[in-house]
């Protein structure tokens, strides 16, 4: 996968341009991390506040490398059978039922239990073979021929046991299955792990990864993002909008609006045919930006001041 895309990832600068062509505006740090991940073959641990494009980064990376994106959402109680592999119990059961008669034929004439068992052994582990294996995301990623981008989303939500289980995969790109032996990656996948920091991750996991922190973008980059995502929006409104969001982020709110909210808001304003920001429009669309009633109540009386500050800036 790396060799195939060599010219697309031969420097951080190229990666940045390629991402831009795909509509993902990123900082130098992000481009560098993807560059290092591809060349050092190390997973990236992406942290940052919600809505700054952590998951999007994985999607665009898979697009850039034209490799399939395999996504695994983590949650409490996630275990091997859901992340790695499972036996197709139903199929096993069905086959044993169907083959009952055949088994009878095989067994016919066998004297005593010992002989029957030794005859059965001649057939090998039919029911625990690849045919009956249901690969889950991690195994899929290891087995995909042309390489893949594996996104392990919100790793902080999974249990610590699962985190420990991931270590083998992250450092050696291999995984042990008791019945089949060790599965090695055919082509090493690019792994991205995202975390919202709901709990501290283990040092062992962090050690194996490149660490990338995506903060809220600077105003210039956010403007570029908006113009890439919502190109129809006029320049003046875009500047106002980004400046206003910047002011909001300086307030102490429960949840400050992230980039995804900015984009949603820009789309909404476009749909409503708003020419320039004013008090009324902001008030009616504020619920797109703020997700807590407390926050909305805190911001509403401040709208005029914020708007003034925003227009002055832009």
């Amino acid at each position: 996968m790396i060799i195939r895309n060599q010219e697309k990832i031969n420097s951080p600068e190229t990666i940045k341009q390629q991402f831009e062509a795909l509509g993902y505006i990123c900082s130098d740090a992000i481009a560098t991390s993807v560059y290092l991940a591809c060349h050092l073959q190390k997973p990236i641990l992406v942290e940052g506040p919600p809505g700054v494009g952590k998951t999007e980064l994985a999607k665009k990376t898979s697009e850039l490398l034209s490799a399939p994106l395999i996504r695994m959402q983590c949650y409490e109680g996630l275990d091997e059978s859901k992340a790695l592999y499972e036996w197709k119990y139903g199929k096993q059961l069905l086959y044993t039922q169907l083959l009952k008669d055949q088994l009878g034929d095989v067994m016919r004439g066998a004297k005593g239990l010992d002989e029957s068992v030794s005859r059965l052994h001649q057939f090998g582990d039919i029911f625990y073979s690849d045919e009956f294996l249901e690969p889950r995301p991690l195994l899929q990623a290891l087995r995909s021929e042309g390489g893949a981008v594996l996104l392990i989303d919100e790793i902080d939500k999974a249990d610590q046991e699962f985190e420990a289980f991931l270590l083998e995969l992250l450092s050696d790109y291999q995984i042990s299955i008791p019945e089949l032996g060790t599965v090695k990656a055919k082509s090493k996948p690019i792994v991205l792990l995202t975390s919202n920091n709901t709990r501290e991750l283990g040092d062992a996991l962090k050690r194996r990864c490149l660490h990338l922190y995506i903060p809220f973008p600077s105003k210039a980059i956010e403007q570029k993002i908006i113009s890439a995502q919502v190109p129809e929006l006029n320049d003046k409104l875009r500047q106002q909008l980004v400046a206003f969001i910047g002011e909001l982020r300086d307030m102490s709110l429960k949840k400050v609006p992230a980039v995804s909210e900015t984009i949603d808001w820009a789309r909404a304003l476009l749909l409503l045919n708003v020419e320039s920001l004013d008090h009324e429009w902001i008030k009616t669309t504020l619920n797109l930006l703020l997700k807590f009633q407390d926050d909305i109540e805190a911001v509403e009386p401040e709208i005029d001041n914020l708007l003034k500050a925003a227009t002055k800036e832009s």
Binding site: P12, D28, A29, T32, S33, Y35, L36, H39, L40, K42, I44, L45, E47, W87, Y89, G90, Q92, L93, D159, Q160, R199, E200, D203, K206, R207, C209, L210, H211, L212, Y213
Partner: protein
């Protein structure tokens, strides 16, 4: 490059970043990949491999700027062999020029340092400074006050003594005053340069040494005598210790008894497969997090210890989610909500303002506790009392304490006073002591760490 990076990582470790050797190798590979010409790119790349959280990243940025700024100045001085060889050649040629120059002046300087200074060959001087600095131990400086001494030592190693002598001789004869002036100026310049270098080395490698010393002292000293200006540092230390404890005890939530089949759950799980037992379910025991109730006397001197005990407990929230806290001096009040709503510091300040510094009355406080929370104590509750049991000769209401002891799983009494002063004057420690699982002296961060560690351990 290896040496430069190795030193850099050494500097980072001094600044308090935990960098493993595996990460060092990664950093080397990353640096090889991106090269060292593009500074911002190198900064990002090394940052990603060496730091693993935001706080560390900020420290890293600072150290990077400091280190590589000084490195840039001394770039040529980095001891890769080719540069040295190149410098040697350069020196040869410049010596020739120098000879012409000296001829022009009509005199030649005897001391080697004077010759070098008149050469004005800055890069070779820098090489000399670097090697002299290593020899004089510039990296081992622990205190700011050592800087002049090390500077002096480096100057001596460079040959300052001879230079001074020669200057004195030349000055006495006075015939070459313009030249002597020039040499003097150069010498001062060199001294400044050496001093700058030493300061930089101090900043990079040893700035944090005194802090480490202070930290280890603060661990041991009596909490009641912690100075106000050390509160912030103490707070950080408490948080660090709490994090360590939390990570030690957060691992296991459930102990699976391997080999003990849970028949009921196995049959239920396999009902869908016609009774064939594909999934086996094993018995497991859930590890309970202890319910903790902490009662703090905040009167007088105990209040200082109470501050740190509460801070510690709230830093343990990951592993001790069910902490309820009560404070009293005469009246008791529950402050659990206060801590949830306000930040730690603000809540502490409020507690101290409202309840602290009143004469303590354990009898009244325990009576209040009966009405607030006695019924919530069950056999999984650990009750921690922090107090000196100095009751101003009032009735101690011991029966309530006995009731608490009977109902709860464990009762710990932490007394900030040493054992020798228990029961002296108005202390009624011996009345409460029979109804405690454990009575301990607790007045330093180490004690706190040990006590809370045992609370967590007992729960498993």
């Amino acid at each position: 490059m290896q040496k430069v990076l190795g030193d850099f990582i050494h500097a980072l470790r001094h600044a308090g970043l935990p960098i493993s050797s595996a990460e060092t190798l990664d950093a080397l590979r990353a640096a090889q990949l991106v090269g060292i010409d593009n500074a911002p790119l190198l900064k990002h790349s090394l940052g990603m491999t060496l730091t693993k959280c935001l706080q560390h990243r900020l420290t890293y940025d600072q150290v990077f700027d400091q280190y590589f700024n000084s490195y840039d100045q001394f770039k040529e001085a980095s001891s890769s062999e080719e540069t040295i060889k190149a410098l040697e050649e350069k020196r040869q040629t410049s010596n020739n020029i120098d000879e012409e120059l000296i001829n022009a002046y009509g005199t030649s300087f005897q001391s080697p340092l004077a010759q070098q200074l008149m050469d004005n060959d800055m890069s070779s001087v820098q090489v000399m400074i670097t090697s002299a600095a290593t020899a004089s131990g510039a990296r081992e400086i622990a205190f700011v006050t050592q800087i002049p001494m090390v500077t002096y030592r480096i100057m001596q190693t460079l040959g300052n003594g001879e230079l001074q002598q020669e200057l004195a001789v030349l000055a006495s004869s006075d015939e070459n005053s313009a030249e002597v002036q020039l040499l003097r100026q150069r010498r001062l310049l060199l001294q400044q340069q050496v001093r700058d270098y030493v300061e930089q080395q101090y900043l990079i490698f040893n700035q944090n040494e005194p802090n480490k010393l202070r930290e280890s002292n603060l661990q041991k000293i009596n909490l009641t005598s912690v100075d106000h200006r050390n509160y912030k540092l103490m707070g950080e230390l408490v948080r660090k210790a709490a994090k360590q404890l939390a990570s030690m005890h957060s691992r296991r939530r459930r102990i699976t008894k391997r080999g003990l089949l849970d028949v009921r759950r196995t049959i239920a799980a396999n009902a869908a497969y016609d009774g064939f037992l594909f999934h086996t379910k094993w018995k497991s025991t859930r590890v309970d997090r202890p319910k903790v109730m902490v009662i703090c006397d905040v009167s007088g001197s105990v209040s200082e210890v109470a501050r740190f005990l509460m801070l510690f407990l709230y830093c343990l929230q990951d592993v001790l989610p069910k902490v309820r806290s009560f404070v009293f001096s005469s009246n008791m009040a529950e402050v659990t909500e206060l801590f949830e709503q306000r930040g730690m510091d603000q809540a502490l300040a409020e507690v101290m303002l409202k309840w602290a510094n009143l004469p303590s009355d354990y009898g009244k406080a325990l009576a209040d506790f009966t009405s607030i929370a006695l019924d919530d104590i069950d056999n999984r509750t650990t009750v921690i009392m922090l107090g000196d049991a100095r009751n101003n000769n009032e009735d101690g209401n011991v029966s309530v304490w006995e009731e608490i002891y009977r109902r709860s799983q464990r009762v710990l009494w932490l007394n900030p006073e040493g054992e020798f002063s228990w029961d002296s004057a108005d202390s009624i420690m011996s009345e409460y002591a029979p109804y405690c699982t454990h009575v301990e002296t607790c007045n330093s961060l180490r004690d706190l760490n040990r006590v809370l560690g045992s609370v967590l351990k007992h729960s498993n």
